[in-house]
């Protein structure tokens, strides 16, 4: 252990720790806990959608406030839909993928002892804890949790009397989100500064592993895109509790009473929300792609294809993602010319995205693939990216989106992108870096069972949702069978529910495997996967401070080669040997040149 870091007691080491690895693991475990809640909600949602009028005495015994005579109350259904989305997007995927892996991996991959601001890092985690607790506690207040959708559009979210969940539940939702934004912004500042300023000697930008690049782009987007949501949340709070009318127009009637508001515009909130909301998709998806690049390179035993074009594409995606938010609002009555602009920009974003996706696929070309669990999830991610991405083309085009808006087509699409792609990114990352986290391996057999029981059902379920949407089925309906035109589609809902129950069951296998392996998994050596990037040059798990002697970087992160040896790789810190300069003429050398500066 480095002499810079004296031994610490239990509290300082595992609870109020400033060590980035401990904080990363704290984030990931918190995300798992929140994930259990969000997945539990999805099970209740799917039970309701598939069997709307069915009586569930057991559920009523467990959740007496949510069920009446064994049947789910409509208002609780709306709360569940809202909270499932909110918790999944902000408190599971953001936490695990960005905050979790960002903390765990960035210093290890760039060769730093810790984050730039370790104390701020601890603070940002301990801001998330109350945020999570407040979000969960909103289920317990009068009226229940927020019910205006994860997008919290006013007036439903602005008028406490609008829905039962629009009261205290919505206020707690806003409070939890405010804390979340503060925490996430602190984290983004930290990532940005760490990546740009604390890289090891020799770690030029073009030698960064893809995970770090994607987290850098995510952090830039986070820093720039979250403040407008903060602004929106502040104004919404004032509309709710300060008597203002930023978002409230005149002529609102609730319970037969005309409300005394004038001049506000709910559309303003939608613009502010989606100015964050769309970049947020990339904040979540890009790190998953970065992890996939690293995993594909390590288990494909070859350099990633088109490192530079991927980096450029990432930056272009980031830039474009800030100016396409209007495609979430095509049906809001916007000027058709504005809609056309948003359509063109959205379709344009598919170009750099296709480059990234094709580079991932091309990285598999002539690879010597080792089908580890991490690799399986990375491959599943690539497939989901293609499937989900194609749906995005339809939704980004105003003419098609006006039909698909608010239908199950949208639900299927975004579950592919920010459900499956990001979820598989988390799983790939966990299986890949578990040895670095705990010095042990996860069970690979259980991992494969987890992969296959997840992949089949989620693909079938979410593709089925696209068909439902094509047939016109609307999302967020408490009882789809109450519309005669949707009754013939009900079989699809039952089918989708069964598929998702299998997938949910598979996640229990994962959690069991994770918990068991933490303490009893096979012990891992320093570099169990023969990885070339810097995190594999230190112990598993690394000591506080990461390295005794700081590494010096001499080359790119993906120096794997396939000529003759499946084990062949060169760690980033291996010194250059001029005597091997002739290898520059070999195909392997050519590949190496592309991955280095």
């Amino acid at each position: 252990m480095s002499h810079d870091y004296p031994p610490q007691g239990f509290i300082r080491k595992y609870v109020f720790s400033t060590d980035h690895k401990v904080i990363g693991i704290q984030y990931i475990l918190t995300a798992f806990v929140m994930g259990l809640v969000a997945v539990g909600l999805s099970v209740l949602i799917r039970l309701q959608v598939a069997w709307p009028a069915h009586q569930w005495p057991l559920l009523e015994a467990l959740l007496p406030n949510a069920y009446e005579s064994g049947v789910l109350k409509p208002e609780f259904y709306l709360s569940m839909v809202t909270m499932h989305g909110t918790i999944m997007v902000f408190f599971v995927i953001s936490l695990a993928l960005v905050s979790g892996f960002g903390n765990l991996i960035i210093p290890l991959q760039i060769g730093a002892r810790d984050m730039a601001y370790p104390f701020l890092n601890m603070l940002s985690y301990w801001t998330i804890v109350p945020a999570s607790l407040i979000m969960l506690s909103s289920f317990l207040v009068e009226g229940g949790a927020a019910a205006g959708g994860w997008t919290s559009y006013p007036p439903l979210s602005a008028l406490p009397q609008a829905l039962s969940g629009s009261g205290m539940g919505q206020t707690l939702w806003l409070l939890a989100m405010a804390l979340f934004i503060v925490s996430f912004t602190m984290g983004s500042l930290n990532f940005l500064t760490t990546i740009l300023n604390l890289r090891a000697v020799g770690m030029s930008m073009m030698r960064l592993p893809m995970t770090v690049w994607t987290l850098l782009v995510s952090s830039i987007l986070g820093v720039l895109a979250f403040p407008p949501l903060t602004a929106a949340a502040i104004m919404l709070l004032l509309d709710r509790h300060g008597g203002t009318s930023f978002f409230l127009p005149e002529g609102l009637v609730v319970g037969g009473v005309v409300l005394d508001y004038a001049g506000g515009t709910p559309l303003l909130f939608q613009h502010l929300f989606w100015f964050l909301g769309h970049p947020e998709v990339y904040v979540l998806v890009l790190p998953a792609l970065g992890i996939a690049f690293d995993v594909v390179a390590t288990f494909g035993r070859r350099p990633v294809f088109g490192y530079r074009t991927t980096v450029v594409s990432l930056l272009v995606v980031a830039g474009l993602s800030m100016i396409v938010w209007g495609h979430h609002m095509f049906t809001s009555g916007m000027n058709p010319y504005v809609g056309e602009y948003f359509s063109i920009m959205t379709v344009l974003i598919t170009l750099p995205f296709a480059v990234i996706g094709l580079n991932l696929i091309a990285s598999l070309w002539r690879a010597e693939i080792r089908f580890s669990t991490a690799m399986l999830f990375a491959l599943g991610l690539i497939s989901a990216l293609g499937t989900g991405g194609l749906g995005g083309l339809y939704l980004g085009t105003a003419a098609a989106d006006i039909y698909f808006h608010d239908s199950y087509f949208v639900v299927g699409h975004f579950h592919f992108m920010i459900g499956v792609v990001t979820g598989f990114g988390i799983f790939a990352g966990v299986y890949y870096w578990f040895p670095k986290m705990f010095g042990r391996h996860m069970n690979e057999t259980l991992g494969r069972v987890h992969f296959w029981l997840t992949t089949g059902p989620v693909f079938v379920a979410f593709i089925s949702m696209h068909y439902l949407g094509l047939a016109g089925a609307l999302r967020r309906l408490y009882d789809p069978t109450s519309y005669a035109s949707f009754q013939p589609l009900q079989g699809w809902n039952v089918w989708i529910s069964f598929e998702l129950f299998i997938a949910v069951g598979a996640q229990l296998i994962f959690l069991g495997n994770f918990a068991w392996s933490m303490f009893a998994g096979r012990e891992a050596e320093k570099n169990p996967w023969q990885g070339a990037s810097l995190e594999w040059t230190t112990a598993s798990p690394p000591p506080h401070g990461n390295w005794d002697e700081m590494p010096i970087v001499h080359r790119g992160p993906y120096e794997y080669r396939t000529n003759g040896s499946t084990e062949g790789y060169v760690p980033q810190n291996a010194p250059v040997r001029p005597t091997l300069a002739d290898s520059a003429t070999s195909p392997a050398g050519e590949m190496l040149d592309r991955s280095g500066p």
Binding site: L198, V201, L224, A231, A232, G242, T265, R561
Partner: protein
Amino acid sequence: MTSIPAGEAGVSGPIPPRAAVHGKHPIPSAGPYPMGLMALLATVSMLFAAFTASMIVRRGGSDWVRITLPSVVWINTVLLAGSTVAVEMARAAVRRDASSRSVRWLALGTVLGVLFLVGQVQAWVAWAAQGVFLPTSPHASFFYMLTAIHGAHVIGGLGAMLWTLRRSALGAYRSGAHLGLTHMAIFWHFMGAIWVYLLVLLSIL
């Protein structure tokens, strides 16, 4: 084709020269601060940009009436400008290694900053006395909200100023080593600039 043994060296370029070298130390001296500060200013800028956009949109509402700002805000502007000048004078003093003078300038800057906040509260009191409250009109809503949010940032800046004042009093800054003071000054000037911007916005929209 030359086969390269596993785990051996390959070819790559020379080590690029880099400024932020950090050997045994967890954080290089003052390395991360400029980048962290710039990112912080970027995020604060986006917050006020979002409020600006909202104000322009909301101004289209039928009920938009601009109310003349309380006259005390102009005095406050002078106070904040004075404070920002004092901070700059403190930096200049440190550059000449006149540390006792820099402490005095920083103390003046802090006092003027606090007076600015007191003046802002006075502006609220003045409007409240006229019967103009948060919900009175959308223009008033923006005034109260923006001054409060700016004030919250100013309080943060004052915290940083007190910290540098203490460091300065302990003689921690010298002509070649006063990065903390410089960064506090950048943030403070930025808050001054934001205030002038908000004042213009609230006066013309």
